[in-house]
Amino acid sequence: MTTPLGSFPGGLVLDGQKKRSTYDAIRKTPLSKKLILPLQQHIGEASEPIVQVGDKVLKGQKIARADGHVSVYLHAPSSGTVTAIDEQPIPHPSGLSAPCITIETDGEDRWVDLEETPDFTTLSEHEIRHRIREAGIVGLGGAGFPSFIKLNPGVHHTVETLIINGVECEPYITCDDMIMRERAEGILDGIEIMRYALRVNKCIIAIEDNKPEAISAMELALARRTELHDTNIVAIPTRYPTGSEKQLIQVVTGKQVPSNGLPIDIGIVCHNVGTSYAIGRAITHGEPLISRIVTVTGIDVTHAGNFETLFGTPMHELLSFCETRREANEPFILGGPMMGYNLSGDHLPVTKTANCILVGVDNAAPKTDPLPCIRCGECATACPVSLLPQQLYWYSRSKELEKTREYNLFDCIECGCCSYVCPSKIPLVHYFRFAKTETMNQELETQKADNARIRHENRLERHEAEKKEKEERQRQRKLALAATKAAKEKEAAEKAKTADPQPDSQEQ
């Protein structure tokens, strides 16, 4: 095991609440009658359906293809019939709907033919990336960024370190913990493939020190795999938000990712342990991404635990499987208590980014209105990115969006440390999210308005030019007309001269 090289300022030590959901092994959620699959379960462009209503599909069959570069494929999680391709409510803070493919399962769970590749070295790096894209694999840590893109060093970069993120710093979430305990071998399979694709040797697996079982499981698996060189496990001191990519890089390597830059700019690539496992399954066994481990936990859940759930499974089925009594006024969150969002109902489907369903939180934030900011500065002390949340708050509140950019609003990772420590209980992260979407919206509107103005001005210019041209042509025509008239008159005059010679000869 190696030791971490750095740390970040601020952060919080939170009550992990992990024990609730780690008593039992990972269980499989029973198959649902209906699976609702949003076409966009990843960052980037939504996938485009390649099936139609009424089509019969097999388990693992492609039902939507990637559209554009930052996109991946979508697969049927079980065999059945496509019954609808329409707008359905999706898990999102807005509670809005988006295009989804609905499949009614036939209960047979028949797989499509899979292409197994026991030795991934027979494939080129490019081929591996392509297969990962086709397998629909996205970052399973919660963000959902298409993984194949993060496995491409490109021509300008060399990757020096691959960091595998097994930190899982948010309270209540334990899916990564369980996958490390039970499927360590699978994770290492994925690591081998990723190293190959990235042409990197050094690999660090970062695990928080509140997961001793996971650490020993991974160490055991690593010890058995003698051909995996230069791969080490680092036990990170438990502190929130170490699991955030930029903060993790700072802790493990001591380096900072430049602002407006990516980790690959400093030669580092990070992937989640779940993603790693999925990559292993996809390349070695040909299995596309059709399920994930979801933690269902919270004070209202009787049998909390981790469940391997097919995508599209309506959440209420998962909740009743765990015997949950949902209270009306308590948080019902997708994700963790620090960065998750409230769900509008439990009929929503489980998606690729659903790492945890949290029903009821211990020590939930009070529902009182906030007091004014007393400028105590605790928020700045807690911020892991060294921002000034106080200033961001004042400017977000007064909608001075220019100033929020000056204070690096978009560097905020929305971790919630500032809101947590605020003595006035001001919902700081909400203000920052508001300011961010307002800024983005404003930029869009300004761009549209500028476009409209330019088009309008061009149109006016064009009309002016056409008018001038018309006038010019008219003038030319008038001149031409006048010229021909003059020429005609001249001709007529000459004709008159030559046609009547008598008066002239008589005089002679």
């Binding site: 508001f434 919206n441 409209a452």
Partner: protein
Amino acid sequence: MLTAILAITIMALIFGLLLGYASIRFKVEGDPIADQIDKLLPQTQCGQCSFPGCRPYAEAMAAGEADINRCPPGGETTIQALADLLEVEVKPLDDECGVEKAKTLAVIVEDRCIGCTLCIQACPVDAILGAAKQMHTVIADECTGCELCVPPCPVDCIDMVETKLNPNTWRWPDPSHVDLTLEDQS
């Protein structure tokens, strides 16, 4: 007493001269107020304000000849922004100019289009693609929702369709609009 009055008067004259000089020497060229106002307007170029476009309306407001509440597409947000900029009272939207509606885009119903180009000529931002006797279509990204194309169409084939909110364009609500009485939601 007299010396005091004299001293103050002379100081007032000196400072007045200084201010006058500064106002001439440091005068800002152009009419930046009209530019600032124009930046706040939505550039729909619809003419509902009774001016032939957003720029003429902005200039009229800068000259004090037009009120700030004449822009329906801008709605309350624009009126508020104009009130803040010009430091005047916020007024409700002038009814005779129109009503504030949700943003709509023009869509041509292709079954009915006869290819007469009247709508193309009417559009202030050239957002309609087409030619004589050819199918016309609205370029959705460029359409500002001004509705100037609707009256000229002889076959009434242009519909104004509301833009739907989708998760990618959704915005977080303003947290400072807090009701100080608590409500609970299930």
